[in-house]
C-alpha cells in the first residue's frame, strides 16, 4: 500500500486525546454527585487518553502535519468511527448496560449530531449520561464545522468547491487563512453555545438543562433531557430561544463570523441564507395555515409550533414542542421532503444543503432555456458570480448518490421488517442526520428501541455516511484511492 498512514494515525491520536478531555467532564460531574458511572467515565477517559498518546508518540517522527487529500479523507472516516466506538463504552458499561448495538447506535447518533435515541425515560437518567449525550453532539458539531471549513472545499464534495476561499492554489498563505477562519468559526460556535445557555436559563430552564439544550441545539443535534423533548417545559420563551438556536446552527458559521467582524456587505450578499430563511418561513406559514384550517388551532401557537417543527426538521435537529409526526396529510408530506433539503453549507445541519438546491434549480432553469435557444451561451450563476460548469455537475452527482443511498437504505430497512412509512421516514431522517422520522413510533417523541438490531446498524451506518457527505466514504471504495 502506497498511502502513508502515519499522519492519519497521528491525527486519530490527537482526536482521542481531545475526546478524553471532553469525557473528563461527565466523569467529574458524576464524581461530584457520587454516581457510580463515575468509574466507567474515568476508565474510558484514561483508556482513550492512553491510546491517543500512544498513537501520537508512535507517529511523532512524521512531524510534517501536512495531510494529503486521501489522508484527510481517511482521518475523517476513521476518526469519526473510532470516537463513536469510544463514546459507546459508557453506555454499554455504565448503569444503563445497553447491548453493543444499542450503545453504538446511541453513540453514533450522538457524535453525528443526529437525534435517534434508543433510550426511554430520559427524565430518570443520571446527569452524567445526559451530559455525555449532549457533549457528544457538541463535539460532532465541531467535527462538522472543521470538515466543512477545512476539508470539503478542497475536495469539491458535491460542489463544495464553491466555498473554497479565493485561489485554487493551496499555498502557505491559504493554509494560514483557513486556519484563521476555522478558529474564528470555532470561537463563534463556543460563544453561541454560551449565549444560548444563558438565554435558556433566563427563559426558565434549570442551569443543567440549559447547558444540555444549548450544547445540543447549536450542534443541530437534538438530544433532550426529557421524553417530551422541548415540549416538557411548556414555555414559549424556551421554544423561541431554541428555535433561534436551531436557526443559527443551520446557518453558515462563516456568516456568523462575518457578522462578528461586521462585514455587512458580505452578509447581505449571502443568497444561501435568504433561501434558507425563506424556505423555513414559507413552509411553516403553509403548515400553520393547514393547522388553523384543519385542526382549528389558534394562529399564533400554530405558527410557533410549525416554525419550530420546520426549523427542527430542516436543520436536522429533531427537537419537538409537540409530536409533529402525528400531524397528517400535507404537513407530513412537506416535512418529509424538507428532510432532504437540510440546512446551509458550513453549518452543523445535515441533508442536501440549501446551496445545492439553489444550484440545482438554477441548472434546471438554465436547462430549459438552453433547449429553446441551443446556440446561446448561458452560464449558471451563484451569488451573482458565474459558476464553473463542473460545479453544477458535481452537485447533481451528489443529488443522485444521495437519492440512491436513500432508496437502498429504505429497501434495506423494509427488508429487515420496517413498514413502508417507517422505512422511508427513518432512511430520510438518518441520512440527513435528523433522527426522528415522520411516523409516531420512531418520531420526535418516540424511540428507536423497538427496532430490530439489524435496522439499528443500518441506520447508524447511514448517519455516519450522511455526516461524512457520502463521498468521503465512497472514495474509500474506489480502487484509485488505495493505488498511487
Amino acid at each position: 500500500m502506497i498511502l502513508d498512514l502515519r499522519p492519519v494515525l497521528w491525527g486519530v491520536g490527537l482526536l482521542l486525546s481531545l475526546f478524553a478531555a471532553m469525557m473528563a467532564l461527565p466523569a467529574l460531574l458524576d464524581w461530584r454527585l457520587g454516581d457510580p458511572d463515575c468509574a466507567v467515565f474515568s476508565a474510558v477517559t484514561g483508556l482513550s487518553l492512553f491510546c491517543g498518546q500512544v498513537l501520537i508518540f508512535a507517529n511523532l517522527q512524521q512531524r510534517t502535519r501536512h495531510f494529503t487529500i486521501r489522508q484527510g479523507i481517511l482521518l475523517a472516516v476513521i476518526g469519526w468511527t473510532v470516537l463513536a466506538i469510544g463514546a459507546s463504552l459508557p453506555f454499554a458499561f455504565g448503569h444503563l448496560r445497553l447491548s453493543p448495538s444499542d450503545a453504538l447506535f446511541e453513540a453514533i447518533s450522538g457524535i453525528t449530531a443526529t437525534n435517534g435515541t434508543i433510550l426511554r425515560h430520559l427524565d430518570t437518567l443520571s446527569p452524567g449520561i445526559l451530559l455525555w449525550r449532549a457533549l457528544l453532539q457538541w463535539m460532532g458539531g465541531i467535527g462538522v464545522l472543521t470538515l466543512s471549513a477545512a476539508v470539503l472545499p478542497d475536495l469539491n464534495v458535491g460542489g463544495m468547491d464553491l466555498f473554497r476561499t479565493e485561489s485554487a492554489r493551496l499555498d502557505e498563505r491559504l493554509v494560514k487563512r483557513v486556519r484563521r477562519l476555522l478558529s474564528g468559526i470555532l470561537i463563534v460556535y463556543a460563544g453561541l453555545t454560551l449565549l444560548l445557555g444563558v438565554l435558556l436559563w433566563l427563559a426558565g430552564m434549570s442551569p443543567f438543562d440549559a447547558v444540555l439544550h444549548a450544547l445540543s441545539t447549536i450542534s443541530c443535534g437534538g438530544f433532550s433531557s426529557s421524553d417530551q423533548s422541548v415540549g416538557h417545559w411548556h414555555n414559549p420563551g424556551v421554544d423561541w430561544v431554541i428555535l433561534l438556536g436551531m436557526l443559527l446552527g443551520g446557518a453558515p458559521f462563516f456568516l456568523h463570523w462575518q457578522i462578528v467582524r461586521r462585514q455587512w456587505r458580505e452578509v447581505r450578499q449571502n443568497s444561501q441564507v435568504r433561501w434558507y430563511l425563506g424556505l423555513i418561513v414559507l413552509s411553516s406559514c403553509a403548515i400553520a395555515l393547514w393547522l388553523v384550517i384543519e385542526q382549528d388551532a389558534k394562529p399564533l401557537p400554530a405558527l410557533r409550533h410549525s416554525l419550530f417543527a420546520v426549523a427542527s426538521v430542516m436543520t436536522g435537529t429533531g427537537f419537538a414542542t409537540l409530536d409533529w409526526s402525528r400531524w397528517s396529510g400535507f404537513p407530513i408530506a412537506l416535512l418529509f421532503l424538507l428532510t432532504f433539503v437540510g440546512g446551509c453549507a458550513g453549518s452543523t445541519a445535515g441533508g442536501l444543503k440549501v446551496f445545492r438546491l439553489q444550484l440545482l434549480s438554477a441548472t434546471a432553469r438554465l436547462q430549459l432555456r438552453r433547449l429553446l435557444s441551443p446556440n446561446k451561451v448561458l452560464l449558471p450563476t451563484f451569488d451573482g458570480r458565474v459558476v464553473p460548469e463542473l460545479i453544477p455537475e458535481s452537485v447533481l452527482g451528489y443529488l443522485f448518490v444521495y437519492i440512491l443511498s436513500f432508496a437502498m437504505l429504505a429497501m434495506g430497512l423494509a427488508f429487515v421488517g420496517l413498514d413502508f412509512p417507517q422505512a422511508l421516514g427513518a432512511a430520510a431522517a438518518s441520512l440527513a442526520n435528523l433522527g426522528p422520522a415522520i411516523t409516531p413510533a420512531i418520531g420526535p417523541l418516540g424511540s428507536f428501541a423497538t427496532l430490530p438490531d439489524s435496522a439499528k446498524w443500518l441506520l447508524a451506518a447511514a448517519m455516519l455516511f450522511g455526516r461524512l457527505e457520502l463521498f468521503l466514504v465512497l472514495t474509500l471504495f474506489s480502487r484509485d484511492f488505495w493505488q498511487n
Binding site: L155, A333, A364, P392, A410, D419, F420, L424, T475
Partner: protein
C-alpha cells in the same frame, strides 16, 4: 428553425402544429371505429356513444388538418415540436374521453378524463370498477388507447425527442448516426418498420395468450396493454384471474415492451450482435433480475411462500413495475414493507429509452452512475481530465448536463405533485406513492388506496386531475410541458 412571422403575434408558425394535431385526431377517429364495429357486431349499448365521439373527433381532426395545411416544405421546428407533443397528447386524451362520457356508463368528466389520460399515457391507473362486467367495446377502447399511446411514444422517441434534446436523448441520434438512418428520407421507412414490428409482436402475443386460455378479447386487450407497458386489464383483479401460462406470457410481453424496439429491426445487420452490445438492455435485464432475486428471496425467506410461487410473484412484480406496466397479481394488503418499498423505488427506474416505458429510464441511470464515478475520480485527482462513455461512445458535456437536469426536474415534479396531492387530502403514504406511480406512468402504487387495482375511483376529483396532469408531464418527459411555461417560449 422557422422564424417566419405569420398569424398572430407568435414568433413561430402555428400551422404545422395544427396540421399535425389534426392528423393525430384523424388516426384517433379511425381507431374509434374498431370498438364501434365490435359493439355493432355484439349488439352492445355503446355504439351510439362511439359513433358520436368518432364524428366529433373526425370533424375536429379534419378541420385542424385543413386549417393547418400549408404550401411547400414544412417541418416542425423545435418550438413547434414542443408545442405539438404537449398539445397532441392533451387533445387526444380529451377526445378519447368522449366515448366514456357519452357511453352507457356515463362517467363524470373528471373520471373519463383521468381514464383517457391514463390510457393514452400508458399509465394504467383506472377509476373503473366492475371491469369483468363492463361492455366489451369499452374494454377494447381502453386497450386500444394504450396501444396507440405506446406506438406514439415509440415513434416520438425516435423522431421527436432526439430533435428536442430532452434529457440527453440527443445521444440516440448520435448513436444511430451511421448516415443511412439519420437522413430524413429514411426516417419514415424506419418508423414504418418499427410500427410493423410493434404490430407483429402484439399479434404474436395475442395468439400466445389465446392458446394460454384467455378469450379472444382478453387476449387482444392484454397483449396490447403488455407491449405498450400500459397495464389496463379486463378484470378488477388484474392478472390474478388468469393462469400461470398467461402470466408468464405477459411477463415476456412487458419485458419486451420495456426494451428499445428500434434495436430489433434491421435483422440483416446482425440482430444478436446489436442487442448483445447494447448496454442499456443489459442493465435493464440485470435490474429486473436483481429485483426479482431480492423480492423472491423476501417472499420465500421472510413471507414463507413456496419457492416457485415466490419466484413467479417476484418476477412478475419486478417486470411489471420496472417496465412501468402496472399489472398486478394480488393487492398488497397484508404484504410487509419490503415489496411496497421495492415497488416505490422501482417506479422511479423505468425501462429503456426508445420503448413505451416511463420513468427516468435505464440509460439515464447509466450516465448518472458514470458521473458519480467521475466525481470520485475528480476528488482524488483534482487536475485529471475525465470523460463519460455510453455504449462505448464518449458523451459530450451537453448530454451530461441534460441528463442531470432531467433527473433534477423529475424529482422536483414528483415532490410538487406529492405535496399537491397531500394538500387536496390524501394521506402522506398515498400521495407519495400515487405521485411516483403517475409521473413514472406506472399506475400501480402501494398503500390502502392506491395499492388496490382500481382504487383510484375513491380519490377526490382534484386529486384525479392532479394525477392526470402528472401522467401527462411524465409521459412527455417533463420538458415539453415545462418549456411551455417559460416566458421565453412564446416570445423571442
Amino acid at each position: 428553425m422557422q422564424t417566419k412571422r405569420s398569424g398572430g403575434d407568435f414568433l413561430f408558425d402555428l400551422r404545422p402544429v395544427l396540421f399535425a394535431n389534426g392528423l393525430l385526431l384523424c388516426v384517433l377517429a379511425v381507431a374509434m371505429g374498431l370498438p364501434l364495429l365490435l359493439d355493432l357486431a355484439r349488439g352492445g349499448s355503446e355504439a351510439a356513444g362511439f359513433a358520436a365521439s368518432m364524428g366529433i373527433t373526425l370533424f375536429l381532426g379534419a378541420a385542424l388538418t385543413l386549417s393547418g395545411r400549408g404550401r411547400g416544405n414544412f417541418g416542425l421546428g423545435t418550438r413547434q415540436a414542443f408545442l405539438f407533443s404537449a398539445s397532441g397528447t392533451a387533445l387526444a386524451a380529451l377526445l378519447a374521453a368522449l366515448p366514456l362520457i357519452l357511453g352507457s356508463r356515463h362517467l363524470s368528466i373528471t373520471d373519463a378524463l383521468f381514464e383517457a389520460v391514463s390510457g393514452i399515457t400508458t399509465t394504467g391507473a383506472t377509476v373503473l370498477t366492475g371491469l369483468d362486467q363492463a361492455p366489451e367495446a369499452i374494454l377494447l377502447w381502453r386497450a386500444l388507447l394504450q396501444w396507440l399511446g405506446g406506438a406514439g411514444v415509440i415513434v416520438a422517441a425516435l423522431v421527436l425527442l432526439p430533435m428536442l434534446r430532452i434529457g440527453g436523448m440527443q445521444i440516440f441520434r448520435m448513436e444511430t448516426s451511421d448516415k443511412v438512418e439519420n437522413s430524413p428520407r429514411r426516417l419514415p421507412r424506419l418508423v414504418g418498420k418499427l410500427l410493423l414490428l410493434y404490430g407483429v409482436l402484439t399479434l404474436l402475443l395475442t395468439l400466445g395468450l389465446r392458446t394460454a386460455g384467455m378469450t379472444g378479447l382478453e387476449a387482444v386487450c392484454h397483449a396490447m396493454a403488455s407491449l405498450s407497458t400500459g397495464g389496463f386489464s379486463t378484470s378488477d383483479s388484474s392478472l390474478a384471474k388468469f393462469g400461470n401460462g398467461a402470466r408468464w406470457l405477459c411477463v415476456i410481453g412487458m419485458l419486451l415492451g420495456g426494451m428499445n424496439l428500434a434495436l430489433f429491426i434491421n435483422p440483416w445487420r446482425g440482430i444478436r450482435w446489436r442487442i448483445a452490445r447494447d448496454t442499456q438492455i443489459r442493465w435493464y435485464l440485470l435490474t429486473a433480475l436483481g429485483f426479482t432475486a431480492m423480492l423472491g428471496f423476501w417472499y420465500w425467506a421472510v413471507a414463507g411462500q413456496m419457492l416457485h410461487h415466490a419466484v413467479l410473484q417476484a418476477g412478475f412484480q419486478a417486470v411489471s413495475i420496472l417496465s412501468t406496466t402496472g399489472f398486478r397479481l394480488s393487492d398488497d394488503r397484508g404484504w410487509g414493507g419490503f415489496p411496497q418499498i421495492a415497488i416505490f423505488v422501482m417506479s422511479f427506474i423505468g425501462g429503456c429509452t426508445g420503448s413505451a416505458a416511463g420513468g427516468i429510464k435505464i440509460f439515464r441511470y447509466e450516465v448518472l452512475f458514470a458521473i458519480s464515478r467521475l466525481h470520485i475520480a475528480r476528488m482524488l485527482h483534482p487536475h485529471g481530465v475525465f470523460s463519460v462513455t455510453f455504449n462505448r461512445l464518449r458523451l459530450p458535456a451537453a448530454v451530461l448536463r441534460s441528463v442531470l437536469g432531467f433527473f433534477m426536474l423529475y424529482f422536483l415534479c414528483f415532490a410538487a405533485l406529492a405535496i399537491g396531492l397531500a394538500v387536496v387530502g390524501l394521506d402522506p403514504l398515498s400521495s407519495l406513492s400515487a405521485a411516483a406511480a403517475a409521473i413514472g406512468n406506472v399506475g400501480a402504487g402501494v398503500g390502502p388506496v392506491i395499492g388496490l387495482a382500481g382504487g383510484y375511483h375513491a380519490l377526490p376529483a382534484a386529486a384525479k386531475l392532479l394525477l392526470a396532469l402528472g401522467m401527462l408531464i411524465g409521459r412527455l418527459e417533463l420538458v415539453p410541458v415545462l418549456v411551455l411555461l417559460l416566458a421565453g417560449f412564446w416570445k423571442d
